[in-house]
């Protein structure tokens, strides 16, 4: 047991454990960030501008943290288009430039500023995205090409940041299921009934035809709860992983389409890349490279 642990710890410093997954995960998270930034563009002035409709929250003290909330200060508020433009450019550049660390810092800085300016309307998915962009700053899929102690440091940091991102996903399910068990709707199996009758989280067709189907909705409520309870433990068991991920993708796709919480649903599906096998990621990465080469040759 002791040897197994020692070998695990040594491995984390010696070689990258998930280089293909880190590569794909980064692309997935950045694409998602680009999508939600573009979606917010028509209401950008109301969210981040000088005359935004949300009262700003000023953080006292730490200057590093204040630099992540520049738009809440009247001096910087009118520069929000520059932050948005920088974010979009940095994401686009990340698909063409090999060195990712500086771009990752830039993307985190820009997103963090937009996120903190509109924090009262942010939901769990923005919190999660903010955390993931932070972990991506620490990851470097090309760490194994470095030399000496820098390589050891970079490899180790990448591996642990990747573990942190995985654990974070488990924490989301753990916290969510723990609090659901404290209420009554989820245990009674009526949570989906109430949700689908709420105009905000439904579609006309679903509200009129599905929201009162008692048994199917109870079963779906309980299976959602069971999935969230099991995920943090069972995702580490190889045999169960594909079933959990398949159920999760279906569940989050439904959340996005029916309940309209598109950002949360999509982000959770992107985050499942953290648990994809290296072989699968390599196949996908090769396809990405072929597409990338085609784009570059068309540009030339």
């Amino acid at each position: 047991m002791k040897n197994k642990w020692l070998s695990y710890i040594t491995q984390q410093a010696e070689e990258l454990q998930h280089p293909q997954a880190v590569f794909l995960y980064r692309k997935g998270v950045y694409l998602f960030t680009l999508l939600i930034t573009l979606l917010q563009l028509p209401v950008a002035a109301s969210l981040w501008g000088k005359d935004a409709s949300i009262a700003p929250a000023i953080y006292e003290g730490n200057s590093i943290l204040q630099s992540l909330n520049l738009l809440s200060h009247p001096t910087f508020a009118s520069y929000y288009p520059a932050i948005v433009l920088l974010l979009i450019l940095a994401i686009v550049a990340s698909f063409f430039i090999r060195s990712q660390r500086i771009l990752a810092i830039l993307i985190f800085f820009c997103f963090s500023n937009l996120y903190h300016r509109s924090i009262p309307i942010q939901n769990g998915s923005s919190d999660l995205l903010h955390l993931q962009l932070f972990y991506l700053v620490l990851m470097d899929e090309h760490a194994s090409h470095k030399l000496g102690k820098i390589k050891t440091l970079s490899v180790c940091l990448t591996n642990f940041a990747f573990i942190a991102a995985q654990v974070q996903l488990c924490v989301v399910y753990f916290i969510s299921s723990y609090y659901k068990l404290q209420g009554t709707h989820w245990l009674e199996g009526t949570a989906l009934h109430y949700t689908l009758l709420n105009d905000e989280f439904t579609l006309d067709f679903v509200q009129n035809n599905v929201a009162n189907m008692e048994l199917p909705l109870r079963l779906l409520t309980w299976s959602t709860l069971l999935f969230q309870i099991l995920f943090p433990v069972c995702i580490w068991i190889k045999k169960l992983k594909p079933y959990l991920l398949t159920f999760g993708i279906a569940l989050h796709a439904l959340i996005a389409m029916v309940m309209g919480i598109v950002d949360f649903g999509l982000l959770m599906i992107v985050m499942y890349l953290l648990f994809a096998s290296e072989a699968w990621c390599l196949t996908l990465r090769n396809k990405y490279f072929r597409l990338h080469q085609n784009v570059i040759s068309i540009e030339k």
Binding site: L47, I121, S176
Partner: protein, 215 residues
Amino acid sequence: MNISTKREKQSFGILLSLFFLGLLLLHFTLTIAYQFRELDYTSRLAGLSKQYTEPLFTQNFKIFAPDVPDIKYKLFVRYAADGKNFSAWQNVGAPLVVKHQKNRIASSGYEYLIYKNATSELLRANADAVERSDKSLSANLAQKQITVLLRNSIHFYKASYCFSRQWTKEFPNKPFPKGFECALLLEKIAPVDNKQSIAQANYAYLFFPNVAAIR
């Protein structure tokens, strides 16, 4: 690479790994404690976790928990440029909800969130005012006191901030009206085993007069 250099590199790697593992454990202990801080707000760990987590690692994953909302909130506003002749009540969120239902990936969802945030602030302001009001007063006096407490509430300020900014966006050339009022319609969703129709569900109103312009 000779043996001593290799060993040195290996032990550097092990030390580094242990350091990052320690950091990882500390990070998740504090961020998880942050999410459970409402169990005991006064504990030292709760204070420490809040200090560590906010604002860099802020997180709230109590998604639809402990219960899903079983009340629908509808936000209505009306205004009078002269402070007397009010317009009809307008449900400001409804058109945005319909837009969002028609197109799930459109910005109307975010626009709706702005009004939803104002709704939450009004509810918090009302809850705070009711909590702080003197329970021994007569109904009439208590209502007057609640109105005063509402006007001084930070949550009411935040809601007013939203309304005045949205007004400027919609009518850039018109000053904020002298009279601006809002009301929340609270509609209880009928339980699953209840045969009563949605139209017969329970309703309640909360009224918020005197929304002032915030500059």
